[in-house]
């Protein structure tokens, strides 16, 4: 098998990877980049532990070939906080203690972030539905739902303030 060189953006930084055609994105992230926030929970797309963002959309990295990421923009939990400031979703998970063991927390946060990118004002039913593929064995999801809805509310308030400021500036 031949390695192939690909170029991509990882957490905002340019990267060059040399990968085998059968290498999985999850393994490259964990073993070459030492980004261990994405987890192995099942390896076959049934738990969501390996969720990252690929070009802005949530993706199961255990089912994604690294070679298919040539030119892609990948975001992992490690890249979510910007300039040392937590993302609003991370803040909400912190505030609501929306974890116990924390093993699913990176994937739950990435998934919630993706949901709020798509749908800034989800209903509780929509949150449940969106997170359905991401398993958590510890929390019973209750605190995760509280955190997700709270993050949506906080982001909406921020957006409204921002819009008001822009109007004032105009």
């Amino acid at each position: 098998m031949q390695r192939k060189t690909i170029h991509l953006t990882l957490n905002g930084e340019p990267r060059e990877w040399s990968v085998y055609p059968n290498e999985l994105l999850l393994n490259v992230l964990r073993e070459q980049e030492f980004l261990t926030g994405a987890k192995y929970g099942c390896g076959i797309g049934e738990c969501g532990a390996c969720t990252v963002h690929l070009n802005g959309a949530p993706m199961l990295s255990c089912l994604t070939l690294a070679i298919a990421c040539d030119g892609a923009d990948i975001l992992t939990i490690e890249g979510l906080a910007r300039d040392g400031k937590l993302d609003a979703v991370q803040e909400a998970f912190l505030e609501h203690s929306a974890f116990q063991c924390g093993f699913c927390t990176p994937d739950m946060i990435m998934m919630t972030r993706a949901l709020l990118n798509e749908n800034p004002q989800p209903s509780e039913a929509q949150v449940r539905d969106y997170l359905r593929g991401n398993l958590c064995r510890c929390t019973g999801y209750a605190s995760i739902l509280r955190a997700a809805l709270d993050a949506a509310a906080v982001l909406n308030v921020r957006r409204n303030i921002h819009a008001a400021e822009e109007r004032a500036d105009a």
Binding site: I44, C47, Q90, F99, Q100, G102, I144, L145
Partner: protein, 776 residues
């Protein structure tokens, strides 16, 4: 801020850190992805290992040929039973001081001439790359010859059954006799009989079993592993014939345990490979491997015969229990004891006989699982309470009310309940939180409500002579270090220690660092099992922090010229209680103490109550330090056309004594309830003729975000627990009442009972059909 219903009924004093849902010390790592779990560690020159496992549930091994694997490029070592003659996992129960033979694990590390369950380990392969190690299992040739097998406990008890565990497949028996159930049964107006069955289930923690082992520069075998028990270093040493001080187990934050990481998992496989290759060796179970080859919850068949008066008073109970121990003996004897001892639940029953038996079969072995037998017992006794009510045509809540135990009443073993026994309070609040009765929105939909009360011990068996140790020390800058060998499995075990210390020494949480889960570098604190860490290590830490406080306070009282008991600590400051202007910074006091050679640290040992073993004739005697009580209520909708059950609302109310961190307590309760929901409705490790038919999350279903009902969590604080500040354990109790509450709600909805968990659509339809035939 988390909003919780936390009525302060006992009028407990408000504290500065205790009782606050403060952000946990492990929170930042978890939300940023920085937290390292055992499988996240890598080392230079590391090998990857895989286990070759048995394809058959029962077979003789005629030949194992590893020659092809040994010669394969990239393979560094192949180990079979021949490389470790006689080595067995004989897991002692960590911390048990009793020298008599314990009934813990006794299984070969690698099978030699016989396999007893599908997935049993036969060989270990260590290779340069994981992909190569995975190929090795194809390169090892094993010739099997089928061997007679037995797959149900009832069959395994028959004379002439194939023997899985010598001499007769009986793994453990408990016979508990209190009063005279036979005689009292004659005085009953009504006798109610019922049989209830539970299934194999899997812990399904999101983090599969994982670890990495290496031999350090001093020849110490060091193992970084996801475990609830770092004290397995002793069993590992025994199995590998090393001195105990040459094995060092370092835990990591555990990605879920629930009892499944209480026994040894990967430790011996990677330990052996590391000793053999002298290189670091890593192993992570695949999900399939975890589902196939690691322990499961014991299935139980429990039969109740209860004598009651017309007015609803229980006068006698006879309970039989039969549990499937699987192919090897791990913690079955103790799981069985928990079940037997809680056979009649939190009710006053003066005449009880319990006969419990655990039997070996060629199924996957069973061992600890959150609730540890007491959960299976609750599934039975709480359904039985509803059946009694049905027979008497009474409200199930009324039957419970009449029979609830009070402080001073005793368990079947004769152990008296102490402290607050808020059974009725909890049941009432949980029930009320369900709200108004709902009407079904279609004729084929039926709505039902169900309740379950429970009791669950916290702390270990008192004849285990359990202890925990913690070290608390102040640094010169006023920051604090806690060292305590507690494995943190996600319940906030380490955070609890920080919160207790913050309260005692008046130092904010962010100034505290906790080192835990290390068998060599942190004082041994015992297992994170049996809902014991808050109680045991919490108390050890509390004692250590108090000792430090005492030295500091004595010195401060001289300096501030006041009485000792007038000194208080808060916000990094020492001050006089009624005159806060009289104060000094904590750092100044520390500097004085350091200059005078006064200790600023303390190592403390906390000792649980010690008792003798049970009376061998009737199993009378104390078994646990204390109990947690509570209740779970649910409202369900049953689709009578499809048999599908949906939980619409769930309300839990537990007396946790004192919620040291209400957010963490709520997390335990909500998470436990969700696991209970899975237990009731969907989870089932289907082992048919020894073959697991559910080896992935596509077949083994656990609750998702869309299965979870609207949830209400009510935390009561009686302040009467044995933990610091009156806290009681809540880890296991949270799960226990959910499954029977759902079973009762379904029976309420459809007017018939499904007595076998899980309540699948097929079983629900079958129960409905039975009533229809009865009336047609």
């Amino acid at each position: 801020m988390i909003r919780l219903d936390q009525p302060n009924l006992a009028n407990l004093p408000e504290l500065r850190h205790i009782g606050k849902p403060l952000p946990r010390i492990d929170a930042m790592g978890k939300v940023t992805g920085a937290t390292k779990y055992a499988g996240d560690y890598v080392m230079p020159n590391m090998l990857h290992a895989k286990v070759l496992r048995s394809k058959y549930p029962s077979a003789k091994i005629l030949r194992i040929d590893v020659s092809k694997a040994r010669g394969f490029p990239g393979i560094v070592a192949v180990l079979t039973a021949d490389d470790l003659p006689g080595a067995r996992v004989t897991t002692d129960i960590p911390g048990v001081t009793d020298t008599a033979k314990r009934a813990g694990t006794d299984a070969p590390i690698l099978a030699k001439d016989r396999v007893r369950f599908m997935g049993e380990a036969i060989a270990i392969v260590a290779a340069e790359e994981l992909a190569i190690a995975e190929r090795a299992s194809d390169l090892i040739e094993v010739d099997y010859e089928p061997y007679p097998a037995v797959f149900t406990p009832a069959e395994a008890m028959q004379p002439g059954a194939p023997i899985v565990t010598e001499p007769d497949n009986i793994v453990a028996r408990w016979r508990i006799v209190k009063g005279d159930a036979d005689a009292a049964m004659k005085n009953a107006d009504v006798i109610v009989e019922g049989t209830y069955k539970t299934q194999f289930i899997d812990h399904a923690y999101l983090e599969p079993e994982a670890g990495i082992a290496w031999v350090d520069e001093n020849g110490v075998l060091t193992i970084r592993v996801s475990t609830q028990v770092v004290e397995h270093f002793r069993s590992i040493a025994a199995a590998l014939q090393l001195p105990q001080n040459k094995v060092h187990v370092m835990g990591a934050l555990v990605g879920g345990g629930f009892g499944g990481k209480e026994d040894i998992t990967v430790e011996l496989f990677i330990g052996l490979a590391a000793l053999k290759t002298r290189r670091p060796v890593k192993m992570i179970y695949t999900r399939e491997e975890s589902l196939l080859a690691h322990c499961k919850r014991h299935p139980f068949t429990i039969t109740h015969k209860t004598g009651v008066t017309r007015s609803g008073r229980i006068v006698a109970a006879q309970v039989n229990m039969l549990a499937d121990s699987g192919a090897y003996v791990y913690l079955s004897p103790y799981v069985l004891l928990y079940a037997a001892s809680s056979a009649v639940g939190p009710y006053r029953v003066n005449n009880v006989t319990v006969n419990a038996c655990a039997v070996a079969t060629n199924n996957t072995f069973t061992s600890a699982f959150r609730g540890f037998g007491a959960a299976q017992a609750c599934v039975a006794y709480e359904q039985q309470m509803d059946e009694i009510a049905r027979e008497l045509d009474m409200d199930p809540r009324q039957v419970r009310r009449i029979n609830y135990a009070q402080a001073g009443d005793t368990t079947p073993n004769g152990q008296a309940f102490r402290g607050a026994v808020w059974l009725e309070e909890c049941a009432q609040r949980a029930w009320d939180a369900l709200g108004e009765e709902t009407k079904a929105n279609a004729p084929h939909m039926k709505i039902g409500r169900g309740l379950a009360s429970y009791m669950q011990s916290y702390g270990r068996i008192t004849w285990f002579h359990d202890t925990s140790q913690a070290w608390v020390g102040l640094e010169m800058d006023g920051s604090i270090v806690i060292r305590c060998g507690v494995p943190d499995i996600g319940g906030g075990q380490m955070n609890t220690l920080a919160q207790i210390t913050a309260e005692v020494l008046g130092v904010p949480m962010e100034r505290i660092t906790v080192y835990g889960t290390d068998s060599a570098l942190t004082p041994l604190a015992g297992t994170t099992t049996a809902t014991r860490q808050m109680y045991m290590s919490g108390n050890a830490t509390y004692q250590a922090a108090l000792a430090v406080r005492k030295t500091l306070a004595e010195r401060a009282s001289q300096h501030l010229e006041c009485e000792l008991d007038e000194i208080d600590f808060a916000d990094n400051t020492v001050f006089v209680k009624n005159d806060a202007s009289q104060n000094m910074p904590l750092t100044q006091l520390i500097a004085i103490c350091a200059a005078e050679g006064l200790p600023r640290a303390n190592l403390s040992l906390f000792k649980a109550p010690f008792t003798d073993k049970l009376d061998p004739d009737n199993a009378q005697g104390d078994i646990w330090p204390d109990y947690t009580f509570g209740a779970q209520a649910v409202k369900v909708a049953v689709d009578t056309e499809t048999g599908e059950v949906r939980v619409l609302k769930s309300a839990a109310c537990h007396d946790v004594g004192r919620a040291l961190n209400p957010a963490a307590v709520a997390g335990q309760i909500e998470g436990g309830a969700a696991q209970g929901l899975g237990y009731a409705l969907m989870e089932d490790v289907q082992i048919v003729n020894g073959v697991t038919l559910t080896p992935s999350f596509a077949e083994y279903l656990i609750p998702t975000a869309s299965d979870i009902p609207e949830t209400k969590t009510i935390i009561l604080e009686s302040g009467t627990g044995l933990g610091p500040f009156g806290a009681k354990g809540i880890g296991e109790p949270a799960l226990t009442p959910m499954a029977p509450a759902i079973a009762n709600a379904v029976a309420d909805a459809i007017g018939a009972r499904v007595t076998q968990l899980p309540l699948t659509p097929e079983r629900v339809l079958e129960a409905i059909d039975k009533i229809e035939t009865r009336f047609s």
